[in-house]
């Protein structure tokens, strides 16, 4: 199948989605990230892999954490980083997304890190770059609508590999608002591609997309059953606005059924790890005792995120 992320030699040219990427590329990214881990421990935290290149952070949607980690990662690769606060610039004046891209390409951008509220926006940019013959300009998706957040998916895989070593013996549960979650979709594709035999989705029917089974996922509505004997539990953020419609009655009721408490965690394997893409809502999807407990690996995820983003950027835009 045609995959707009790969160039004609089958190498990664853009990172738009985990879906459709072969296992060898996911492994290549994780291995490269591992080699960058020691860079962050150095006195001088820099490698010259993207020296002279310009990385544009194009955040059409607000984000602090993701944008910051991309910025740190790009700087550690010696790139020039330009942060564009799109809400206050051209698009607010009516410029189209692709006009913005054309202008930045004219400023010799080498890599776009894009976050956008519409699913598929980074694909549109990548296809446009191909159309105008700029295969030297690359796109990394930093989250598009509900669709994908591939670097988060990869850092989650890095975290799992770091603690669990082997993907092929694991039972992984993803809990919460999967319907609106780009992280969940990227995690599901990454987990199935890397050979995890059992991926579970846990949540109420209102927060689960239809036909999840077609993605190779086992659906659970009862959290106690869903996390039983799991090796990894990935908790998702529940946004407050979900309480405004008819999806959920209240944060309290949600927490009683789907919040991760020490009692529920005890049902998972004793050495299970607890992950969360952040920012967390304590007392909504996760109990503080779990968030701060010994099984949580939420802060290491953030650290690994920098190495993973360095790996992705160096692979797509490196020489």
């Amino acid at each position: 199948m045609y995959n707009p992320q790969l160039n004609k030699d089958g190498e990664l040219s853009h990172l738009l989605s985990i879906e459709g990427l072969p296992q060898r590329i996911l492994t290549q990214i994780l291995d490269t990230a591992e080699s960058f881990m020691e860079v962050s421990a150095r006195e001088v935290k820099k490698v010259p892999l993207l020296r002279g290149k310009s990385v544009f952070n194009l955040f059409f949607e607000n984000s602090t954490r993701t944008r910051t980690t991309f910025e740190i990662a790009a700087k550690r690769l010696s790139a020039d980083v330009i942060n564009l606060d799109i809400n206050k610039s051209s698009t607010a004046k009516g410029e189209t997304l692709l006009d913005t891209i054309d202008n930045l390409v004219a400023m010799h951008a080498n890599l776009f890190v894009v976050r956008h509220a519409s699913s598929g926006a980074p694909f549109l940019i990548a296809e446009h770059l191909q159309r105008i013959g700029r295969d030297d300009v690359h796109v990394v998706n930093a989250g598009d609508g509900r669709h994908a957040h591939p670097t988060q998916g990869l850092l989650d895989m890095y975290t799992i590999r770091h603690y669990k070593k082997d993907f092929t013996q694991l039972r992984v549960a993803i809990v919460g608002d999967i319907l609106h979650s780009r992280v969940a979709r990227s995690d599901i594709h990454a987990l199935t591609t890397l050979g995890v035999p059992e991926v579970r989705a846990v949540g109420p029917e209102t927060l689960l997309p239809k036909h999840l089974d077609k993605l190779g996922v086992h659906v659970f509505h009862d959290m106690n059953e869903g996390i039983k004997d799991c090796d990894v539990i990935i908790m998702l953020r529940l946004q407050n606005e979900r309480m405004n419609g008819a999806l959920l009655p209240s944060a309290g009721e949600y927490f009683r059924h789907y919040g991760l408490t020490p009692q529920k965690l005890a049902l998972a394997k004793p050495n299970a790890i607890v992950m969360h893409p952040g920012p967390m809502n304590r007392g909504v999807e996760i109990h503080s005792a779990v968030a701060d407990g010994s099984q949580a690996v939420i802060l290491p995820q953030v650290t690994f995120g920098i190495a993973v983003r360095m790996a992705v950027m160096s692979i797509v835009a490196g020489n």
């Binding site: 045609y2 707009p4 879906e19 189209t96 997304l97 692709l98 956008h116 519409s118 699913s119 598929g120 926006a121 694909f123 549109l124 446009h128 598009d144 609508g145 509900r146 669709h147 994908a148 780009r182 979709r185 997309p209 239809k210 036909h211 999840l212 077609k214 993605l215």
Partner: protein, 415 residues
């Protein structure tokens, strides 16, 4: 002017005609088929060798954003009558606007323009438009286009009022609440791509409501652009019950499914959305079985309106110039004989409209399409007369080329 179209394969689906014959046209009407009428002297002879000669196509849904270009596109596609939905800017909710549109169409003198009047003022679904006045100005029926009537009482009253005068109401069956946030069929593809879904229930709930109101009011209703198997089943039941309900299918829905969205292809965004293969097959079966008419749902949009992320791109595709080739493509794939396929875009829509046209019997208006079913052409922006260059088929080869189109016995395209 006396015209004879010679050497062609004449297909008149309504009368079961399919033979090599000459078609004689005089005074804007069909004068004879086969033998020349007594004393007929042809002023123009048209050679239709290797071509099919059929009634001009009647398109049940085409938006004419720039009327001259779109009417030229219509006749280039063999379409001799176009039904225009009322969702223009401004909406067609006043007799004057309808009057102007009809006159402008006549002035241009290509395809016949059959406007649908707005059912409610501003298509807001609240207050009734002046239906009788609109009818007098030339509106053939009344519609909301894709705009909802959220208030069921308003819909009931509109149908009662229309029934009073014997007017037909055309409705797009799509429940407002279940479709307002959606951009794709609520299925596997939408789940995978993270696109907000529109469930099939959006269609079936609307149809169930409308059918019940037809039962209560006796209003004649035409449902536009069905998209689902369950929707087709509901309409079939209503028809079996003897209710005055008909429906049409946009030609793209006969050929494409949710899978054609691929990686967010904005050209695969339609209203209603493309659904599953099973739905597509049910629609195809309904068309093949003579239950539904096929239309282009011609929706020309600017290039920039498609160069956007899937959910922000405008739905719809250009249709007038591909209605015939896509219908032929569907017929071939679904093993539908050519005369039956042509019936879906000629006599079937005429029946929906209660028109006298759509056939080639002696005395019928000479709205005729002459096309070569085998000649192929590549769909490129340049190949289209329509201002709408938006199509999921850009770059594809289309089989079936219109050679000549006649409206009222006058050559308006080709020749």
């Amino acid at each position: 002017m006396n015209i004879v179209i010679e050497n062609g394969r004449v297909i008149d689906p309504k009368h079961g005609v399919d033979r090599s014959a000459s078609l004689y046209i005089a005074d804007g009407k069909v004068a004879a088929l086969g033998e020349a009428p007594a004393g007929f002297v042809a002023e123009q002879r048209i050679d239709a060798s290797d071509c099919v000669v059929c009634p001009g196509l009647i398109d049940l849904g085409a938006r004419l954003n720039s009327i001259e270009a779109e009417l030229a596109a219509a006749v280039a596609g063999g379409v001799t009558s176009v039904v225009v939905p009322p969702d223009a800017d401004p909406p067609l909710d006043e007799p004057e606007l309808a009057d102007r549109l009809v006159h402008r169409g006549a002035e241009i003198g290509k395809a016949r323009v059959l406007p649908l009047g707005a059912l409610t003022l501003g298509l807001k679904g609240e207050r009734l438009a002046e239906l009788a006045g609109l009818k007098k100005a030339g509106c053939v029926a009344f519609s909301q286009a894709n705009a909802p009537v959220v208030d069921t009482e308003a819909l009931l009253r509109a149908m009662e009022y229309a029934a009073t005068f014997g007017f037909a109401v055309w409705l797009q069956p799509q429940d407002y609440w279940l479709s307002r946030n959606g951009i794709a069929h609520e299925g596997e593809v939408a789940s995978r791509l993270g696109l907000a879904g529109i469930p099939v229930a959006a269609e079936t709930i609307a149809i169930a409501t409308i059918v019940q109101l037809v039962r209560d009011t006796g209003c004649r209703v035409h449902l536009t652009r069905l998209s689902s198997e369950s929707g087709v089943d509901l309409v079939r039941q209503a028809r079996n019950e003897g209710l005055p309900v008909s429906f049409d299918i946009g030609v793209h829905h006969l050929l494409l499914t949710e899978n054609d969205i691929g990686f967010f292809n904005p050209h695969a965004r339609f209203c209603p959305p493309l659904r599953t293969q099973k739905d597509r097959l049910a629609l195809s079966e309904a068309a093949a079985g003579g239950l539904a008419a096929i239309c282009s749902d011609h929706t020309p949009v600017g290039v920039d309106d498609k160069l956007l992320p899937f959910g922000e791109a405008k739905p719809g595709a250009t249709g007038l110039e591909v209605l015939l080739p896509l219908t032929l493509k569907w017929a071939e794939a679904a093993h539908v004989p050519l005369p039956l396929a042509l019936a879906r875009i000629t006599s079937a829509p005429a029946e929906v409209l209660g028109l006298e046209s759509g056939h080639l019997a002696v005395g019928a208006v000479a709205d005729v399409c002459v096309f070569d079913p085998c000649t192929t052409w590549q769909l490129t922006p340049e190949a289209l007369k329509s201002r709408g260059k938006n199509s999921p088929w850009l770059g594809y080869l289309m089989a079936g080329k219109v050679k000549m189109t006649l409206v009222g016995g006058k050559v308006v395209f080709g020749g």
